[in-house]
């Protein structure tokens, strides 16, 4: 548990109750209920437009739900006044990396440490080096994002998120923009995080990762959770016709 400015503590669990979200006339999320427990690895799968990324963005505070309740680490994200409290306590890894191109790997990781956690440069660099070592990028501290491969950039992005000591990590299609041969280096970092007990919510199309790492697989279809369960239940023995259809298409490809 880490303390926030007003003394509250932030946990590592997520509770969504009857969450809805629409963009204009399009209902992206319809009455979603979801719980993620401390240390759990939940993988969200589903077709494009099924609402999984939006759900992740609501949990990380980048979007607000139209209705329903969202508790992330105990913070009521549906209360606009309190939602900002989550900032800096969760980590988010994006499909497009979103590394800061004007800063080198070390600069990317130390920025929040210096600006938000008010560490000295030395302190911040020590913490950043640990985070970069954790993702195997300790030898590339001086490199700028444009000088790194996609997989290396994504590992730096993970280090950047980890450095602030987040309670929960969100991965939004973290490997979708990578060349196939670079996917492995990122998923293996993600797997080691899961092994170390990090609470993770992962949107991915990598069924191998879901199979091997997820505690629970959630299949979303058209804004609702159509099916969820262990990887074996959902991936090997899907009950819902839409899940069967989706998986058949994924494994066909």
């Amino acid at each position: 548990m880490t303390a926030t400015a007003n003394g509250a503590t932030i946990g590592s669990n997520v509770q969504l109750r009857a969450v809805t979200k629409a963009f204009g006339a399009v209902e992206v999320l319809k009455n979603i209920d979801l719980e993620v427990e401390d240390g759990e690895v939940v993988v969200l799968i589903g077709a494009s437009g099924s609402g999984k990324s939006t759900l992740l963005r609501i949990m990380s505070g980048l979007e607000t739900a139209d209705s329903g309740q969202v508790f992330v680490g105990g913070i009521p994200m549906h209360e606009p006044k309190r939602a900002p409290e989550i900032r800096g306590h969760v980590g988010m890894v994006f499909q497009q990396f979103n590394l800061f191109p004007h800063l080198n790997a070390m600069g990317n990781v130390t920025l929040a440490l210096r600006k938000v956690l008010k560490m000295s440069t030395n302190e911040a660099e020590a913490v950043a080096l640990k985070a970069l070592t954790r993702v195997g990028m300790q030898d590339r501290c001086e490199n700028y994002p444009s000088q790194l491969s996609g997989g290396q950039q994504q590992r730096v992005a993970i280090a950047r998120a980890l450095a602030v000591n987040p309670r929960i990590m969100f991965f939004d299609e973290a490997t979708s923009a990578l060349d196939p041969e670079l996917v492995g280096e990122v998923t293996s970092v993600m797997r080691s995080l899961a092994t170390e007990g990090m609470t993770m919510v992962v949107v991915t199309h990598e069924m191998g990762f879901a199979q091997r790492t997820a505690d629970r697989v959630v299949f979303m279809d058209d804004g609702v959770i159509a099916e969820q369960g262990t990887p074996e239940q959902v991936l090997q023995n899907p009950q819902h016709p839409r899940t069967q259809q989706f998986l058949a298409r994924v494994f066909e490809a």
Binding site: L62, G88, N98, Y144, S146
Partner: protein
């Protein structure tokens, strides 16, 4: 050297003084333009409607009226409302305010050119909106607009020649005086052109060097083709700096 050229070169000290004044006016006006442009760009992105309207009016009025007229307004019309400026100051103000309106649009485009994901990444990391702007958005915007901003610096330099209309002894003004005195049109204006060329190339060369120092990784490495000197003036590039 022919007699005509020798005569013109006797005026070289006058030309150099005028060149110095031109450069001085350019730097002051450009500094004012940077401030006006930045303030207006922030105002146009402001939460408050009043600021947005004011900045919008500024940009539209300035960009849709002639510069020469704006110079006349500052020099001849402002005194009647109690603002009395000498010719040089009036010129600095008129040109600075004018180019500021163009820079406003450049800066605004630069700010909105920074990918949305950059701000989102900073937000999740816990940076406040102000910190996000200062540490993430502004440095990237600056880098994106640098070549265009250097173009505006040159625009200021060339625009100072209009101040001849309010009798500022800058390069063009002094050239017309010497021309009237000697009637050596070809020699006088050829020399003047050469001096402007030297000034503008020196300014963009200096701006290019400054860009090399300011931006890491180097502009040309991160975004091919954005290096201001290389694109506009290939020969002005100094030695290749390896990173």
């Amino acid at each position: 050297m022919s007699y005509q050229w020798r005569t013109v070169f006797e005026y070289l000290p006058e030309f150099l003084d005028a060149m110095g004044l031109t450069l001085w006016i350019t730097l002051q006006a450009f500094l004012l333009a940077l401030v006006c442009g930045l303030v207006a760009a922030l105002a146009r992105n402001s939460r408050w409607v009043m600021f947005r309207l004011l900045a919008g009016a500024y940009v539209e009025v300035i960009r849709n009226t002639p510069v020469l007229l704006q110079i006349f307004v500052v020099f001849f019309a402002l005194p009647s409302v109690g603002v009395r400026l000498d010719a040089v100051t009036a010129g600095v103000v008129a040109i600075g305010v004018n180019v500021g309106a163009y820079l406003c649009e450049v800066f605004r485009a630069g700010i909105s050119s920074v990918a949305r994901g950059q701000g989102e990444a900073a937000q999740v990391l816990g940076l406040s909106p102000r910190q996000t702007f200062a540490s993430v958005i502004a440095p990237q915007a600056l880098r994106n607009v640098y070549p265009a901003t250097v173009n505006n610096l040159i625009q200021v330099l060339l625009g100072t020649s209009l101040l001849t209309a309010i009798a500022v002894p800058e390069l063009t003004g002094v050239a017309t005086v010497i021309n009237a005195r000697t009637l050596l049109f070809v020699q006088v204006f050829a020399l003047t052109l050469l001096l402007y060329l030297i000034l503008s190339n020196a300014l963009s060369f200096a701006a290019g060097l400054l860009g090399r120092v300011m931006f890491k990784p180097a502009l040309d490495q991160a975004r091919p083709g954005l290096w201001p000197l290389r694109r506009t003036r290939p020969s002005a590039i100094p030695v290749e700096v390896s990173s």
